[in-house]
């Protein structure tokens, strides 16, 4: 029995306990330091062992489409002395030095496994600075408490509760807070959030996108309480945040589980949001019409290739999708609904909370119904088990394609299938602003997918 006493003030739902893991496809809770780095003007301060922060960020950024990012993160780099005598004093010293050396609008202290296990009173240390007016909050992101998805919700909630606080001010009609892709975990988050912002602004909304190059910085976070509503644009991530905001600021939220890729999904998404927000119909339809015009001109011309080269290049017909739910579901839906592939094996890898698994299952179940092959979904984090599932799948008469990560390269080769990297880790992609969602993103996804398919065929 260890002397460890668990933190009973849980702030995020912990994930089900999945057992041993091979080919890890996410980071630990502390990996949410990436979410802080994704907020322009925010700096994380990590209270953890010497390698913890670097490992998480290097995996999520460097080994994930070479995203880069402002990683010069203050860290206590805890050693023997702190493990024996406690690390709170060292954290105090580090925060003081950080304020002297670094410039930021907001500091977020994230704790790792060690301070949780040795019982550092971190809240007391951080609280002293906050009482002095320093913009600093504390997030308990001990690595044993969950992954970077739950850590993300913990970090966001810490900022809301400890930095924004109560707000009874007027609400701004037509302003929305967007909770969508997990920054860095998804290699395309920067371009995608930019495209999502563009779409929502296109129909007349004011947008707090909150993360990435399209975010205006801390001012956007300060505007969170004044928004008319929250939009959760993901299968589950952000739901807890939206519920919390509903309670805190009495803001309603709209949950759209499938991030739209392609014109059909994007247009119906925009109409749903417009109706929820009570926007006038005509400008919305004008924007949709203009977007659809461009989109379908490209699709019209793409059809020459897609129809004409089907046998020459063995254009794939059956899906394998392995990765976190948000992209997994969005890409599965697009490939089935828009391009006419059939579902094969869809495997969700980020360990969503039990409470949302039924909802996720229902989303997949609706896909592919018209051909009588409804899509299924399996929740498997372990890469070894996931690959076994795929190898047991019947692809008779079909040409499979794999949407996944670098871990799926060997599997794809064995299947004789092209691999399109859409998730962490992605070491064969260099991504800057590329987006795969919305109208324009869909065109980029088609380009990448069929360039990969053609190359696999011509270079084999």
């Amino acid at each position: 029995m260890s002397p460890f006493v668990p933190n009973t003030t849980a702030t995020a739902p912990t994930c089900p306990d999945p057992g041993s893991l091979e080919q890890v496809r996410y980071a630990c809770s502390l990996g949410a330091l990436a979410s802080v780095i994704a907020i322009p003007g925010a700096v994380p301060i990590t209270h953890c062992g010497p390698g913890c922060a670097t490992k998480q960020f290097h995996a999520l950024s460097g080994l994930n489409a070479y995203q880069g990012g402002e990683f010069h993160v203050p860290s206590t780099n805890l050693g023997n002395r702190e493990v024996i005598f406690g690390g709170a004093e060292r954290l105090d010293e580090l925060i003081a030095a950080t304020l002297r050396v670094m410039k930021a609008d907001l500091f977020v202290v994230l704790t790792g496994c060690i301070p949780g296990l040795i019982g550092d009173d971190v809240a007391h240390v951080v609280g002293q600075y906050r009482r002095r007016g320093v913009p600093i909050v504390l997030a308990d992101t001990a690595g044993y408490r969950g992954n970077n998805f739950t850590g993300h919700e913990t970090v966001v909630r810490a900022i809301i509760d400890q930095y924004l606080g109560a707000d009874d001010g007027p609400r701004e009609p037509g302003r929305v807070n967007v909770w969508s892709l997990l920054p860095y975990q998804n290699p395309f988050w920067r371009g995608d959030l930019t495209e999502i912002r563009r779409l929502l602004e296109g129909i007349g909304l004011g947008v707090n996108i909150l993360f990435g190059p399209a975010c205006a910085g801390i001012a956007e976070w300060q505007a969170i309480p004044r928004a008319q509503f929250n939009l959760v644009l993901s299968p589950w991530l952000g739901l807890e945040i939206a519920r919390h905001l509903e309670e805190t600021y009495r803001q309603p939220f709209l949950h759209v589980p499938i991030i739209p890729i392609g014109a059909r999904a994007s247009s119906s998404f925009l109409r749903e949001v417009a109706a929820f927000a009570g926007l006038p119909g005509s400008p919305v339809e004008t924007f949709i019409a203009r977007e659809e015009r461009d989109y379908y001109l490209y699709l019209r011309d793409f059809s020459a290739f897609y129809a004409g080269c089907a046998s020459q290049y063995r254009l794939p017909s059956k899906l394998v999708v392995i990765g976190e739910t948000a992209y997994n579901l969005a890409v599965t839906a697009f490939m089935i609904d828009q391009l006419g592939l059939v579902p094969g094996r869809q495997i969700v890898t980020e360990n969503p909370p039990e409470a949302v698994r039924g909802l996720i299952h229902d989303q997949y179940h609706r896909l592919g119904v018209e051909d009588g092959e409804s899509a299924g979904v399996a929740f498997v984090e372990d890469g070894y088990a996931a690959h076994r599932l795929v190898r047991e799948t019947d692809f008779t008469g079909h040409d499979p394609i794999v949407f996944g990560s670098t871990w799926d390269g060997e599997l794809a080769r064995r299947l004789g299938a092209p691999l399109v990297e859409i998730g962490h880790p992605a070491t064969d992609e260099v991504v800057l602003s590329r987006a795969y969602v919305g109208y324009r993103g869909a065109l980029a996804l088609i380009e990448r997918t069929y360039t990969t398919v053609v190359r696999a065929s011509t270079m084999a």
């Binding site: 260890s2 460890f4 668990p6 912990t14 057992g19 041993s20 893991l21 091979e22 080919q23 890890v24 980071a27 630990c28 502390l30 990996g31 700096v43 062992g49 010497p50 390698g51 913890c52 922060a53 670097t54 490992k55 998480q56 290097h58 995996a59 999520l60 460097g62 994930n64 402002e70 990683f71 010069h72 860290s75 206590t76 780099n77 050693g79 023997n80 702190e82 493990v83 010293e93 003081a96 030095a97 950080t98 002297r100 050396v101 670094m102 410039k103 790792g112 496994c113 060690i114 296990l117 040795i118 001990a142 690595g143 044993y144 408490r145 070894y384 871990w407 390269g409 060997e410 880790p425």
Partner: protein, 501 residues
């Protein structure tokens, strides 16, 4: 002090070598102080004072020993590594996979993913202990992959909650009939990540080296950090076969190390293994300075020839190699004339790269070492690479020891203002340098600068990156680091950080 190979834990470098991670001054002073403190009877200049580590209240995320130990265990073929840890420790799996596949392509191995499993501990396990999950992970490793060796690496968390990893490993080793090597690499145990090398080498020495391999008089162990085999072309003319170990090895190569006629280490940061092979298996360790620069490479080859009884052949090899590279070396020296370089790497590796640059005629007045070992495990003064550097090539006026700290490297580069930087660890220093408008050559495969050919390899690589200053300067002019103005202007890496905000 002999290495204690009976204990499952390796002693840390701080305990064995007096390793420090923070210091600032001249290279000559650091060498003198190191000798005075840790090498008193080695016949060196005693004019130093006690080696005194610097400190600073600010620190940025660094690396840990677990990362080094686990990475280098994972790339050993036919093994599976079990990380007994919460999931975050396993975040490096994706890096290790990429690294292994890159190595495999360069070394001609089969392209496959290396195998690592994390016991994936949760809050419950922190309360009740994680041994049950460790046993599951070890059984998974065995049933899935049938490896010849299973490494079990501990973590900060399992170290603190006190899981009996050693007991579980011994019990399952007996039950499954597979060798299980424990790696005691809790990140908090050592202030420097390079202790991770000692941990994996300790495990290899204890469990994976053959006790009864017949001596092979033409086999020489070469211990390296990782990368292509640049040694065979240099040593084959002496009639030596290279047993290249660490940085990815087969178990056969590791077992065979005890059969070799000698061992050379390409970076003294890894010298635990060489010293251990001499101590436990009687394989002599070559104690010449590392082969960076012409004269040092000559001396290194002569020492290998002396120890392995090949003195009759060595002068011809030296003459022929020197003649072979001479014209290209001259061209490179002319092209690099007037350039100023800056080196950022770990200890002996940094010393070697500085020697290379000076041999190429590049000015180096500043360097950044990720840690400093005042002595090596052999304690032999011929392995005192810093003193050798200073005696051969002169002092380095600005010599900073810092564990890859971005803010300190920024100040050191503000002071040095070099034309280019050459660095190890492609992460923070490389990105920093480019953002400061300075082209950078990160050395991912650490053998690039070795021997005669290494001078050409490095010289050509520098010439390739110099024109990238156009990119670097453009980015530098349009981005800013989130430091306070006073630190952005700072040129002293250990400038005091005190006073009110």
């Amino acid at each position: 002090m002999p290495l204690n190979l009976r204990a499952p834990q390796a002693e840390t470098r701080e305990q064995r070598l007096g390793t420090i991670t923070q210091w600032n001054g001249t290279a000559a002073q650091l060498a003198r102080d190191s000798t005075a403190t840790h090498g008193c009877d080695k016949g060196r200049d005693q004019g130093g004072r006690r080696l005194c580590e610097a400190s600073t209240p600010f620190a940025q995320a660094s690396m840990c020993a677990e990362h080094i130990a686990v990475t280098n265990a994972t790339i050993i073929q036919e093994s599976v590594v079990v990380q007994h840890a919460p999931i975050g420790c396993a975040a490096s799996q994706s890096f290790t996979c990429r690294y292994y596949r890159d190595l495999a392509a360069r070394r001609g191995w089969e392209l496959e993913d290396p195998k690592a499993i994390c016991s994936n501990l949760s809050e419950q396990d922190m309360v009740f202990g994680g041994i049950g999950k460790l046993e599951v992970a070890i059984r998974d490793a065995w049933s899935r992959h049938r490896p010849k060796v299973i490494f079990v690496a501990v973590s900060c968390a399992t170290g603190i909650i006190g899981d009996d990893v050693e007991g579980a490993a011994r019990a399952l080793e007996a039950e499954l009939g597979v060798i299980i090597v424990t790696l005691h690499c809790e990140g908090f145990r050592s202030r420097h990540w390079s202790s991770g090398w000692d941990v994996i080498e300790h495990g290899i020495l204890r469990r994976l080296v053959s006790r009864d391999a017949p001596r092979q008089d033409d086999l020489i162990n070469v211990i390296h950090l990782g990368g292509p085999d640049v040694f065979s072309p240099l040593l084959a003319p002496l009639g030596l076969r290279v047993n290249l170990v660490m940085g990815g090895s087969t178990l056969e190569r590791l077992a065979e190390m005890s059969a070799a006629i000698a061992t050379v280490t390409m970076c003294f940061v890894l010298s635990y293994l060489a010293t251990g092979l001499e101590q436990e298996y009687g394989v002599p360790e070559i104690k010449a300075p590392l082969p960076y620069g012409l004269d040092a490479t000559d001396a290194w080859l002569r020492e290998i020839a002396r120890v392995t009884g090949r003195e009759d052949r060595v002068e011809a090899v030296i003459a022929s190699e020197r003649a072979r590279i001479a014209p290209e070396l001259e061209r490179l020296r002319r092209a690099l004339a007037g350039k100023k370089g800056f080196v950022a790497a770990g200890a002996a590796f940094a010393h070697g790269l500085i020697a290379d640059l000076r041999e190429l005629g590049v000015e180096v007045d500043s360097a950044f070492s990720f840690h400093h070992d005042p002595t090596t495990d052999s304690g032999d003064p011929r392995q005192d690479s810093l003193t050798h550097l200073v005696e051969t090539w002169g002092d380095i006026p600005h010599f900073t020891v810092s564990p890859d700290q971005h803010f300190q490297a920024h100040a050191a580069l503000q002071r040095a203002r070099p034309d280019f930087v050459i660095c190890r660890h492609s992460g923070s220093i490389a990105a920093l340098t480019a953002r400061m408008g300075i082209p950078v050559l990160p050395i991912f495969y650490s053998n690039d600068g070795l021997g005669y050919e290494g001078l050409l390899t490095i010289g050509r690589a520098i010439l390739r990156i110099l024109p990238r200053r156009r990119f670097c300067q453009d980015v530098a002019a349009h981005s800013r680091f989130p430091y306070q103005d006073w630190w952005l202007a700072q040129t002293s890496p250990y400038a005091p950080i005190t006073g009110p905000v």
